[in-house]
């Protein structure tokens, strides 16, 4: 288990019901963490519509998570 700091924005913030949390997770990668949270909180967006950022940089979904990192999941942006 590692501990990570998560910030939620926009639709994910609303579906989670909070803006940030610190939690312990067995997830080895960013996508595994997203799937864990999605199952727990009922996020409507599948991973292929979301991007991950670690320590304020975009990363690939299969990027390994490390202790103490800041993780943000990026729902589709405003666009248009």
């Amino acid at each position: 288990m590692i501990t990570v700091h998560i910030q939620y924005f926009a639709i994910l913030r609303e579906q989670r019901g909070l803006a940030r949390e610190t939690l312990a997770t067995p997830a080895p990668t960013a996508v595994a963490l997203y799937e864990e949270l999605r199952a727990r909180h009922g996020f409507t967006l599948p991973p292929d519509r979301v991007r991950a950022a670690i320590n304020e940089e975009f990363v690939a979904w299969d990027t390994p998570l490390r202790e103490g990192q800041s993780v943000v999941f990026i729902p589709p942006v405003a666009g248009g």
Partner: protein, 147 residues
């Protein structure tokens, strides 16, 4: 300069930062809160950003524009928070010796910012529904998730 601002934008002050006697052209883009979107009456918007990453991505977009186009100065500032109809949501200004580069770079900056910067828009509709734009999933109405 690329910045996320929680305060109202001041276009005149932003444009003054671009003053430059080597520049013959200044093109600006302003995004205004519009009273409709795809046929739905809109009453207000919330913009939300992951500011540290938005500003990093914005700096990359500015660097790309400088590499692609013969421009002199470029500024993009995006508002976050609760906005009303007619409010200024985003301001982009570009200067160049010649207008072609200024137009092309201004267009590039707003297109890439909208496509890539982690900034989200929630629309508030006349029927009191709301939606995060582009966040609909299968089965939702159009490309909206009504909450």
């Amino acid at each position: 300069m690329f910045r996320i601002s929680a305060e109202p934008l001041d276009p005149a002050a932003l444009q003054r930062t671009l003053a430059d006697t080597h520049a013959g052209a200044c093109v600006t883009f302003e995004g205004w809160v519009r009273d409709h979107n795809e046929g739905h009456p809109v009453l207000a918007l919330d913009y939300e950003a992951y500011a540290p990453l938005a500003e990093k991505e914005g700096a990359r977009i500015l660097a790309e524009a400088r590499a692609k186009f013969a421009i002199r100065g470029a500024v993009c500032v995006h508002r976050v928070g609760a906005l009303n109809l007619g409010d200024l949501a985003v301001w982009v200004g570009v200067t160049a010796a010649h207008r072609g580069a200024a137009f092309d770079a201004c267009r590039y900056l707003i297109d890439e910012t909208k496509a890539r910067a982690p900034i989200w828009k929630k629309e508030h509709y006349a029927d009191s529904a709301t939606a995060w734009i582009n966040c609909a999933t299968r089965g939702d109405h159009a490309d909206r998730v009504k909450i």
